[in-house]
C-alpha cells in the first residue's frame, strides 16, 4: 500500500496527464454525428500511428551488428509508417467524398 502510494506520488505528473487525456478524448468526440463515425475511426487510427516514434527510436538505437534488432526495427518502422500514412490518406479520401455538396 505504502509503496503503491509512493509510486503514485512519484509519477503524479504522468497520472495527471493520462487522466486529463482520457477526459479530453471523451469530451472531444462527445457529439459526433453518426455519418462521421467511419472517418473519425479512421482518423483516430492514423493518430495512434504515433507509435512510429518508438519504432524509429528502436531502429536508431539498434546495434548495427545485431541483425535481429535491425530486422525487427526495420519491420516496425515500415508497419508504423503504413499505419500513419495509410491512415491519414484513407481518412482524407473518405472526407473528400463528403465535401461535394455539403455546405
Amino acid at each position: 500500500m505504502e509503496t503503491l502510494l509512493e509510486k503514485i506520488a512519484l509519477h503524479q505528473d504522468y497520472i495527471y496527464i493520462v487522466v486529463l487525456m482520457i477526459f479530453l478524448g471523451i469530451e472531444v468526440i462527445g457529439r459526433v454525428p453518426s455519418v462521421l463515425h467511419t472517418p473519425l475511426m479512421s482518423g483516430a487510427n492514423a493518430i495512434h500511428g504515433v507509435v512510429i516514434i518508438g519504432a524509429i527510436i528502436v531502429m536508431g538505437k539498434a546495434d548495427p551488428s545485431n541483425y535481429l534488432a535491425l530486422g525487427l526495427g526495420f519491420l516496425a518502422v515500415i508497419l508504423g509508417t503504413l499505419n500513419v500514412v495509410g491512415g491519414f490518406v484513407v481518412t482524407d479520401r473518405m472526407l473528400e467524398m463528403f465535401r461535394h455538396k455539403q455546405k
Binding site: G80, V89, T91
Partner: protein, 481 residues
Amino acid sequence: MLLTVIYLLASVSFILGLKMLSNPASARKGNLIAAAGMGLAILGTIFLYEESDGTRLGNYGWIFGGLIIGTIIGTLAAKKVKMTAMPEMVSLFNGMGGACAALISITEFNHLAETLHQPHDVQLGEIFPASAAYSAWVGKSIVILAGLIIGSVSFSGSVIAWGKLNGKIHDFAFKGQHLINGLLFLVLLGLAGWIAGVYENANTTVFYVLLILSLLYGVFFVLPIGGADMPVVISLLNSFTGVAAACGGFLYNNKAMLTGGILVGAAGTLLTILMCKAMNRSLLNVLIGSFGGHAGGVAAAKSQGNYKEITLSDTAILLTYAHKVMIVPGYGLAVAQAQHACHELEKLLTEKGVEVRYAIHPVAGRMPGHMNVLLAEADVDYDQLLEMEAANEQFSTTDVVLVLGANDVVNPAAKTDPASPIYGMPILEVELAKNCIVNKRSMKPGYAGIENELFFQPKTSMLFGDAKKVLESISTEIKNL
C-alpha cells in the same frame, strides 16, 4: 529541448485534429492538422532525439528506407482501395500499428534481457525486492509486456476483422468459446505477472510463448463476432492500439506517444459505444456475438406466401404521377455503383414536379455514413437526404417508396419479431407509405441472412434486376411517357 516543444505541438495537433474530425465542416482540415503534427513529430524524432547520455540515433539508412517503403505502400493502398473496402483497409492499418507496438516491445525486451544477464555480478546484489533496480525492472517490464499483449491482440484481431469484412474468413463459434477466451485471458495475465514479478525471468522463451498466446487471443476474440459487427470491433481494436502506443510513451518517456495513444484509447472507446448505440445495441451484446453469431447461419426459412412483381413501365408511371417519392438506398446500390443512375432518375422526377427525398439509415451499406458518401459522389444535394428519424415521420405522407438494394434496414422483423436476430434495431418504416417498390436481384436475404416480411406485404411490389440497369430503364421509360 526543441524536441519537447515539437512533441507538445504534436500532442496539441492530435487533440485539435480529433476535435475537428468530429464536425462535418472542419473534419478534413482536422485530419490534415493531425497529419502535420505527426510529420513534425517524426522528423523531430529522427533529427533531434538524444539518449540521456547524449548519443543520437543511428541507422539513418534503415530508418529512411522503412519510412519510404511504408509511405509508398501506404499511399498506394489507401488511394487504390475501393470505397466499400475502406473499413477493411482501416482495419489492416490498425493491425499494422498494433504489430509495430508489439515489435517495439520484443526488441526492448531482448535488450532488457541482455543487459540483465551481462553484468551478472551487479545483478546478484540487487536481486531482492525493494531494491531500486528491482522496482525499475518491474515498472519497465510491465510497460513492455502490456505493449506486447495489447499490440499483438490488436494485430491479430484486426487481421481477422479484415478477413471477415472482405468475406475471406467466416463466422466461427463453438459452445464454451467465451469460457476458453476467459481462461486464455487469465493465462496471459498470469504469465505476464510472472515475468514482471520475478526478477530473474527476463526469460525470452516464456516471453515468446506470451507473444503467441496473445496473437491467439486476438483471433479467438474476434472470430465469434458476427461480420456485421466488424465496424464496432475495428473501432474497439483501434482504441486497443491507442493504449499500446501509450505504453511506448511510458517506455520512452515520450509525451507525444503517451498523449496520442491515450487520446485515441479514450476517444476510440467512446466511439465504439456510440456506434453500438446507433445500432441500438450494447457493447457487451456485440462482443458476445448474439446478433452477428447468427448472421452466417442459414436463413430462417419460414416461407411467407406470395410476393407481387411490378414491371418497369408500371414503376415509371407510378413514380411520375406521385406527389412525393422517398428513395431508400442500401448496400445493393453501392454494389451496383448505381448512384449516378439514381441521381438521374431523381432529377427527372423533380423536373416533373415530384418531390423526391432520400431516407438514410445509419447502418445502411457496409460502413457508417456509407450512403452519404455514395450519394455525395453522385452530387446529390445534401438537403435531400433525410436521417432516419426525419424520414420515418414522412413515410405516412409518401406516395411511393423506392427501396434500392436495401434489405435489413427495412425489415419489419426488427420491430415485430423478438426472436429475430435484428430485433430492437431501429428501421426505416417504409410500410407506412402508400406503395413500396423493392429493387433487388433475387429473393435472397441481406447481410443478416434473414427473410424479410416486407416483400410479402400487399403494398409491396418487387422489381428484380441489377439496380443500375433497372434505374436506367426506368429513366428511359419516363422520358418516353
